[in-house]
Every structure is written in structure tokens, then in C-alpha cells.
Symmetry: C2
Subunit: 647 residues, 2 copies
């Protein structure tokens, strides 16, 4: 198996997942195939819906003499006529639904291997949400035991070890972490169907997060039994990679149509509120008149179109860096899902999510409601304002929210202010909190779209940050009527605002006092002739930084890297690589995960980093693709994209 991160947003990721039946992209959805009755064949699914992987049930195959014989003889791929990856389930869910079933844990694993399943599943013990702690403890103990034994006999088959633990976060985490030690290949989160059936999304979020906290981040995670697209975006944002859908056909049999915002009974629809090929071709009246079999088929197709479109939407959102927007939009259409988002507001969960959050994104941050202010990226910049940013003065002049970038919008007034006074720190009292003027072009401060009136919850949170930021400072509030402040306390001295800007961004991006180290000496700033924006920064004649126009952050240059390397002690800003990889990096090749020895735990996805050897010699500079946790656990994929190397 090969599983590597190609792109990412939130704690979600786009990965390449390789099996002996080919490579596919995650997040992905496996339609459930009932070998006894395929309403749509896997082959047709591949052609029409872009299905890349399916799941079928080995217990059902084993139970039926004819299917069993055929599967053992020709393999499961022939049996259901599909040449892509096939996952098999073990019968755990059947034991949950029908009670005790006659099945030996190892026997079913061996059977899955014998029929050539790409991913076989252990016979875990289903942990119901209403279990007592003791019962849950038993279910995870037994599951772990079986996983260990199963792993020994799996052969070339990838083994899915299902995380249980009911709704006890500590048991989930423990189970996940113990199962990770077993070194399975694939980690379903099990026991969640009853939560989804009852729309207990807050519990579901807790279960996913606690499982993820315990799991090895380099393994594919499957939300077992999740087939309704309503929860796909949130589950992906929390790090789930796979879903499986029997819902497409189960719902269809009941005349229920799946939509991204929920489910609708066909009888309740006066028109089909959808653009899929089925709904574009048929009217609601026509569909209602179909005989049962045809109607089920058409609705099943609709359900698949919608489910796969949602997967595409999610992957596109990850590429664009707008996954949180998608998550929030979906939550706005279901009160229970909205409720579940609030689980992410706890400090513990914010800290966990922040680790995976990219440093900047391709798209501006869009406000969707009171949940937006709680996004990990805003949590991060608020934290960094206090831990990394150093105000240039105790005298704070506060400008109200205005057009962006603020330094352009308020240009005239700012110029007048700086002409008269200079010992001052201008901040904008913005919707995102206090924004120092010099950070006004940095992501997300400069790249965010807010309504003029924000909800009270955001206002209150932001006011707290503002109060903390301005505490013990001399605050002067500026308004539009006030052409020029007349404040005698402000001292007049010569200030270079460009330098203030560069310092502030350096501190926010590279850490506290980074500017003190980087900007010691003769600084030369080169601006774009066209836009008059800062482009390159030289220190003592050496190119140290370049400014990226799209997110207002720095790309590190060799000159700057050398300074930071000298001034900041290991492991700060470093990715340490093994000996074997040194010659490659010295030739400008990227760093792959298996060659990472260590890493600064403060580096975040897409952060600039120093690549060093085990003796801390600076080799190159690059952009992290992964955080420390991931670099040290993934077996495949790029850890750092090298940009410049020392010749």
C-alpha cells in the first residue's frame, strides 16, 4: 500500500491511495455492492459515476454456497465484475443488526484473503452508543485481540482494523492508538451508524476527533457506514478519507432522494430540485409514475450522482482552500450539524485542528455566520498576535473597519499621521480582530470577505481579543470626521513603515523576534514598479526574503535562511533529513517522508522551512507539505518541496 498526501485543507487531505488493483484519489466513496442483487453493476458505476473503489460483504458471500464457491474459484473481482480496488466487510454490522452470527474472527479474515479482497476487514466488535463503559472496554479489548491475530495472517491483503469505543472519547483514542501499534493498513471508525441515523452529529464529531487523535496520521481513515453526503464535508475536514454508501440503494427503495442538504421523500417534491442527469431528464410527476423497479433504479442513480458530486465538491474545496466554507454552508442547512460544529470550539479541539491547518490558502476567507470566527486559521493568527507580534509602540491609533487593503484605503490619513507623529502603532478594529496596519496584506487579514454587520457572537469574541491587545496601551480612536489626530503625547521620530511591515510579517511567520535577527544590517527594499508593493528584501546586499503577492507572506531566500539558521537554534524552523537523502536535496530534489529524521513541531503545512542534515548543516530551503506528526509517520509522499539549495 501506498498512501500519500497530495493536497490539503483543514485537517482534510487529498491523497493518492495505491492497491494492487490500481491507484485512486481520496477522499472517496465506495458504493456498497450486494453480490446477490446489483441494481447498478460496479462496471456501470465506474463508467457513469466515476466510481473508483467499491465495497462488498464477505460474510454474505461466504454464507451463500454458490457465491462462496465462485468467489474462491475466480476471486471477488470476477464475482462482481470489477477490476478496481475492492474492500470487503466482515459481518460485524450484521452481528449488530441481527445479533450473534455464526462466524469465527480469523476464518472470515482468511476467507477475505482467499477471495482476493484488496482491503479485508477484521471482525471487530460493534460498540453501540448506549454501551456502558465496561461494555465498550470489552468491545475494544476483543477488537484489539482480533486485530493482532488477523494481522498475522493477512498476507498481501490490506487489513482494515476498525476503531470502536462507543461514545467514550478516551476509549476511542485508546483503541485507535492501540490499533495503530498493530500496524494495520486501513482504519475504519466503526459503531457510528446509530449516531448518524439519529442525527447525533455532536457525538459523531467527538468520536471522529478522538479516534483521529489516537490514529497514526499516515493511514487511510474510513467513516464506516457513512453514506449520506450531508456529513461528508465535515468528516473530511476532520481527517476522514473514505465513505461507503449503501444509502444510495437503501434510500431509493424507500423513494427517498439524497441531497447535499438532507433527504427528501419523492412524494413531498413538487419538482425535482436538482441538476443531475436523472433530474434534468425527468419531472417529479414522471418519476412518480414509474413502476417501482424503474423508480428505484432512477432514484439510486440520482443518489449516486449527488454523492459523487459532493465528493468532487469536497476535493475541489480542498484544492481551493475553502473546505471550511463548504462545511459551514452544509451546517447551515441542518441544525444538528450546526450544533456539531460547536464541538470544534473547545480549546483542546482548536489546538488539535490548528496543527493541520495550512498557513495560507488560494481563496479568500469567506464569512458564513457565527461559526467562521472559530476557524483554526483565525485561532492561529490571534494566538500569534500575542505570542509573536511585537507592537512598534505603546501608542495605538485605532482605525475602524474599512476597505482592503486598509493601508491603501486609509492612505491619506495614515500619511498625515506618520508625517506628524511616528511613535505609534496603527491598528484596524476589524471583523477578524485588531489588525496591525503592517499586517494588513497578510493572509487571512487581507484576504477575507465579511458583511458590514457581523453577528454578535463574533463581535464579542473579537472584542475580547481587542481588549487584550490594547490593554495597558495608550489608545487613540480615529474616526472619519477627524482629519488628523492632535495628540501631544505622540513623539515625532523618523519611521520607515515598510520596515515595520517587514518586521511584523517576519515575526508572525517565522516566530518571535525573527525580525530582530533577520533585519540586522543594511536593509534594502525593492518594490514592484507597477503596484508599489514590496517584492524583495536585501540585507547587507544579500537577498533574504521575497514577498508573495497573493497572501502577503514571505518566501525565504538563501540569504535569509542562513541568518535564521545561525540565529535560531535547532530544531527551530528545521526539517532534519537522513544521510541517504542529502545528495538528492543537494541536487534540488524534494524531501520525501521516509528521509525525515526530525522536524520543528511548530512548522505547519505550507510553512517555509530550513532543510538540514543530522549535523545541522543547512542544505536547502523549502515549503513544508506536512506537519511534524505527518512527516514522521507517513511512509510515502513529499514532506518538503525544495525551492532553493546551497550549491
Amino acid at each position: 500500500m501506498n498512501f500519500e498526501i497530495k493536497n490539503r485543507d483543514a485537517a482534510g487531505r487529498i491523497c493518492r491511495f495505491t492497491t494492487k488493483h490500481g491507484s485512486i484519489t481520496t477522499p472517496n466513496l465506495m458504493p456498497v455492492i450486494n453480490p446477490n442483487k446489483m441494481i447498478i453493476t460496479p462496471k456501470e458505476m465506474k463508467k457513469k459515476f466515476g466510481t473508483e473503489i467499491v465495497i462488498t460483504n464477505s460474510y454474505i458471500i461466504k454464507k451463500d454456497d454458490k457465491l462462496k464457491e465462485e468467489a474462491l474459484k475466480n476471486g471477488v473481482h470476477k464475482l462482481i465484475d470489477f477490476d478496481g480496488p475492492i474492500m470487503t466487510d466482515s459481518g460485524t454490522f450484521q452481528s449488530y443488526v441481527y445479533g450473534d452470527i455464526d462466524l469465527e474472527p480469523l476464518e472470515i479474515v482468511k476467507f477475505q484473503k482467499d477471495i482476493g479482497s484488496d482491503i479485508g476487514t477484521i471482525l471487530d466488535v460493534f460498540g453501540k452508543p448506549d454501551q456502558t463503559r465496561k461494555e465498550a472496554q470489552f468491545s475494544i479489548d476483543e477488537t484489539l485481540k482480533r486485530a493482532k491475530k488477523s494481522n498475522k495472517i493477512k498476507g498481501e491483503m490490506l487489513l482494515a482494523c476498525t476503531v470502536q469505543g462507543s461514545i467514550y472519547p478516551d476509549l476511542r483514542k485508546k483503541c485507535a492508538s492501540d490499533l495503530s501499534k498493530v500496524k494495520g493498513d486501513f482504519y475504519p471508525i466503526g459503531g457510528v451508524v446509530p449516531l448518524m441515523e439519529n442525527q447525533k452529529y455532536s457525538d459523531l464529531v467527538n468520536v471522529i476527533i478522538s479516534s483521529k487523535k489516537g490514529l497514526n496520521p499516515s493511514k487511510p481513515v474510513h467513516l464506516f457506514g457513512a453514506g449520506h453526503p450531508l456529513i461528508f464535508p465535515l468528516a473530511v475536514a476532520l481527517g476522514c478519507d473514505f465513505f461507503d454508501s449503501s444509502a444510495y440503494v437503501k434510500y431509493a427503495k424507500d423513494d427517498r432522494m439524497i441531497f447535499p442538504w438532507g433527504t427528501e421523500k419523492l412524494e413531498d417534491l413538487s419538482e425535482l430540485p436538482c441538476s443531475c442527469p436523472v433530474c434534468s431528464r425527468l419531472t417529479s410527476e414522471e418519476l412518480k409514475k414509474f413502476d417501482e423497479k424503474d423508480r428505484t433504479l432512477e432514484i439510486a442513480k440520482h443518489n449516486l450522482y449527488i454523492s459523487f458530486a459532493e465528493i468532487k465538491k469536497i476535493r475541489n474545496a480542498i484544492s481551493q482552500g475553502s473546505l471550511w466554507e463548504l462545511v459551514e454552508r452544509r451546517a447551515n442547512s441542518n441544525p444538528y450539524l450546526l450544533e456539531a460544529l460547536k464541538v470544534l470550539r473547545s480549546k483542546e479541539n482548536k489546538i488539535w485542528l490548528e496543527q493541520f491547518e495550512p498557513i495560507s490558502k488560494n481563496k479568500a476567507l469567506f464569512y458564513t455566520g457565527s461559526q467562521t470566527i472559530h476557524r483554526p486559521i483565525i485561532y492561529r493568527v490571534h494566538n500569534r498576535l500575542f505570542s509573536r507580534y511585537k507592537p512598534s509602540s505603546k501608542n495605538i491609533v485605532v482605525f475602524p473597519e474599512g476597505g482592503k487593503p486598509y493601508s491603501t484605503y486609509y492612505k491619506k490619513y495614515i500619511k498625515e499621521l506618520f508625517n506628524k507623529y511616528s511613535d505609534l502603532n496603527i491598528i484596524i478594529d476589524s471583523f477578524l480582530g485588531p489588525i496591525p496596519l503592517e499586517l494588513d496584506e497578510m493572509y487571512p487579514f487581507g484576504q477575507s470577505v465579511y458583511p458590514y454587520m457581523v453577528d454578535k457572537e463574533s463581535e464579542e469574541l473579537v472584542t475580547k481579543i481587542y481588549d487584550k491587545f490594547t490593554k495597558n496601551k495608550n489608545v487613540f480612536c480615529w474616526t472619519k470626521n477627524q482629519q488628523l489626530l492632535d495628540i501631544e503625547e505622540l513623539k515625532v521620530k523618523n519611521v520607515n513603515f515598510d520596515l515595520v511591515r517587514i518586521s511584523a510579517i517576519s515575526d508572525m511567520q517565522f516566530g518571535k523576534s525573527a525580525s530582530n535577527k533577520l533585519l540586522r544590517g543594511d536593509i534594502k527594499i525593492v518594490k514592484s514598479k507597477k503596484t508599489q508593493k514590496i517584492r524583495n528584501i536585501y540585507c547587507n546586499g544579500k537577498h533574504i526574503l521575497s514577498m508573495r503577492a497573493h497572501d502577503g507572506m514571505f518566501t525565504l531566500k538563501i540569504g535569509g535562511a542562513k541568518i535564521l539558521h545561525e540565529e535560531f537554534k535547532s530544531p527551530l524552523l528545521r526539517v532534519v533529513i537522513t544521510k541517504d537523502a542529502v545528495p538528492f536535496v543537494k541536487n534540488g530534489k524534494s524531501v520525501f517522508t521516509k528521509f525525515v529524521k526530525d522536524c520543528d513541531s511548530n512548522l505547519r503545512p505550507y510553512d517555509e522551512c530550513l532543510v538540514v542534515d543530522e549535523q545541522d548543516n543547512l542544505l536547502a530551503i523549502g515549503r513544508c507539505i506536512l506537519n511534524k506528526l505527518e512527516m514522521l509517520s507517513f511512509e510515502y509522499g513529499m514532506a518538503v518541496k525544495i525551492r532553493e539549495y546551497i550549491k
Copy 2:
């Protein structure tokens, strides 16, 4: 022309619109057809996208000798090969884009008539958003003058009289009301393209509402130049019936794909986030590789699929009574649209919207965020709590938010309370405000889905209502730990809670003190054996009311109608019909608008009403389809659906 309301929600409506080229359903979208270059023919649009009506430009036809000749000879329907209704535009927009054009106002109207347009448009004077009041005044004066003259020569053609007035609400309203007096057939709201281009949705909402306030409610309203589905739901909720889209092709030429949540450049899409036939068949990579012409065509198709799907979504939402949910969900995906929703919160706008809001809906009210509490139906029930509801006691026992219906959820405790005390009024401190226990099954109190934690804005509004409601009362707060309140002040008397419930609902539904009149005498309550819920109410042996299970409101029976008719003076609860219609109503036929003489201005869509003749003789009872404003202005369609008549 024939234009009649078939279904409704918010201030939006589903209407049947009949022209000499057939009937269509509104809200609807007219794709713009350029007779010089049809990238998709109207015929193909009809077949593939369900297009029912198109719009083309008479100015472009007239300017081109060949097109002009052909159109005059064979008619515009032959020219573009479409047998459904065709609207023509006049060149106003061209004069806005290109400046002065060589066109006589009456000449272009005559030309539209001559080529057989179903709906021709006057050459109005485009009112730009940055006009001064004086300029806007000139533009509406001139527009009105031209409308008057044009109307005289329109012949059988329906005449579209475009409302102008820039962004001045009073001028918009004046223009709309003056144009209504001209008795045109169709009312576009013009001059809005620059507002949409700049996402000035708050201004757009003000323009739509002020225009609608001045317009005759029985005429179709067209939001001229609106082709992006993002604003369709809100525009429909405010009473727009038609949109026209040149965006589908204009955007396609620029590789821009339209989505319900906004626009995306093809180059920014790693995957096509959509289930339409184009996006289900092609990948983003494949589409990018198409040559320009094919790419434009495929994107144009995608844009049409999405636009028409949004229209279907809206119509379905109207049927389900969930249009506000759709509006709010869209607004959550665009901060400017969210901002625009706040315009609806002014008291004046709430009052305007409330008139059109149905009494109850087919679907439960779903919370989507801080805007939900401002919906007209909640505004209405809050008002009625103060103007119609009469608390049964000064002693209020407050229960916290809980499961629904509250009377079942808190059954045990309530029973204990009522066993001990009776001079008390139990209310639930709910997310929707204080809900008297006896109203717990009434829409929307019993039919609403909220998260456990509500946003602070809703909380604050609801707290105000709660404070007002409990002012000068003796309030006792009940909590779960408290099995039974021990309050000596509460007096013990015998109370019939069913009667309390019936009284409260009667007052809320039929008006202040309705219960005093209705429930005088010997009351018998018949309950469902299965559910134990109230079904029928008899007074002195006469059937007066039936309870509807789905919305917890009453259907009026003849016995009750007679009492209300006697006790409430005209025009209360009445719809007065003309002499001609009396024999029909006496045979149980519905009341059509042209036979309505007068109507109680407090009746709301789907309210129960008394149908009387001009001498105030009670003829029948029925359910209003329209409010007073509409009953007196619509020429066609049902005003009251009769349920029972006096034989």
C-alpha cells in the same frame, strides 16, 4: 393575459401565466437569445433544459436589415424558431451600455408588436445607481410618459413597463405605483444590473421591496438582467416572478461556471463540483482541454442546467413552505447576500412581508443561523402573543426548552403541578421565545428544529420578548431537579387544560377574545383514540372547530362560523363576494378573485375565513388563498377555497 397564484411562500408565489403562445409556470427564467448567434437554439433549450419562455432583443433585430425583414415577414417566433412565449427587450440596456442610440420610443414598441412579440418592452430610461435624485426623477418621468403612450398602441401584445428610480426607495415606489395606473401587463424592475455586478445586494433588496410596494400585486414582476441563480431565491421570496439570463453564455465565453453559491473560473477548479449532465460526463481536465468553441458550449449548458435547477429548487421550496430556508442557506454562502437579508429586519419591511406570509407550512421551520428569528412568521406569532393571546393567570411557571411537543415531554411534571395548583400559566422559555404550553402544538411552535445552542443575536431578541411577556407577572422558574414547585401563592381551582388550549389557539388564530365568543356554552371535546389529541370541538351540540394534526391549528366548522359571524362585526374574518358569485358559492364552488368585493385586511394566506354576500349573510367557510391586497387586484385565480357551505 392570465396570471394567477397557484401556490405561495414568503412573498413569493407559483403562478400560472398565460400568453397567446401558451401557459407557463412562474417563477421562471428566460434565457436571452441573440438572433445573430444562437449558441444553443431555443428549441434545444426547450427539449434539454425545460425552457418555457425566452427573451430576445428587438433593437438588435431592427438594426439588422436581414433580421428585420425576416422578423416582419414571418414573425419573431419563426425567426428564432420557438413556439412558446417570447419576450422582447427594447434597447434600453444598449442605451445604458453604449450611450445614446438612435431609437424612437414608440417606434420600437410598434416594431415589437409588428413582429409578434408576446411581451414587448417600453423604451424606458435606465436609472443608474449613481444618479442624483433629479436625474432619477427625470428618468421616471420620461419612462412614465413613454409607458402611457406605448400602452395606447400595444394592441394585443402584452406590454412590459419597466420600473426605474435608481436607488431612491420613494422614487421607485412612486414610479411603480404610477406605472401600475397605466395598466401595463408586465412589470420589470430595471436599472439593477450595476447593483448585481457590484454585489450591492442590500441596495437591490431595497429596490425590489420599494418597487413591489408600489406595484399592483396581481402583475408579473421581472427582475430585469438578473441571470445569476445566487439571487433567485431571495428575489422570489420578495415577489419576483421572472428572471432573464444572458449570463449563461456571457460567462461561458469567459470560462466562468455558474453555481448556486457563486461563480468559479474553470481554471480554478481542480474538479467540477457539480452533478449536472456536463459535469457528470466530463472531468475538469477534459473540459479545460476542449477547444474554445466547444468549451463555451459545454459551460453554457452547465450554466443553464444549474440556473434551471435553481428555479426548480425554488418552486419546490415554495410548495414545501421552505423558501426562507433556501434564501438563508444561499445567503450563508455570500457575505453580501447575508448583509442584504438584514435589510428585511426593519419594522417597515417586516410588516410588509408579514402580509404575504402563509399562516402555516407543510414543513417544519428549520434554523439556519441568526437570520431565522427574523422570519415574518416568527414576527407574526410574537405580535399575536401580545395582541391576541390572553394568559390564563398572572402566575407564570416557566419550563426550560425541551423535547417537542412540550406538553408530552414535561407531562409528568405538568400533571403534578396542575394537580396541586391551577391558577397558573405554564410557558416554555424556548428558542422561539416564550411559548404558552397550550400553544405548544401550533405552527411554528411545535414544528421547528433548532440546535441546542442558539446564536447570541436570537437569544437577545427572544429575551426581550420574554421580558415583555413576563412583565408584572409572578414568575416561577422550574428546573429538572425540582420535582414539584411549592408555591403557596398559587391558588387551587379546577382547570380544564384542553379548554385552555382551545381558547388560546382560537385567540391566536381568529383574533383577540375569539375564544370568549366561540366557547360560550356547553363544550364537548372529542379526542383521537389513537393519539389522544384533540380532534373536534362541539359547543351546545354543534360542531364548531376541528383541529389539524399537522399544524395544530383549527379548521372552522359551520357551527363555529355562525358564532364568529354573529359576534365579530363586518369586515372581521369576512370575504365579501359579489351578487353574481353567490349561487356558485352556495353550490360549494370556490371564490375567484374577480368576484371578491371586499375582505378583512387581517386575513392572511391560508387563513380560515367567512364568505358572505354584500348584505353580510354568511354563505360558506373556506380557506383564503390570497390576502386582501391580492384578492382585490388579481383578475384571475382562486381567492378562497370553499370547504363547507350553508345549504
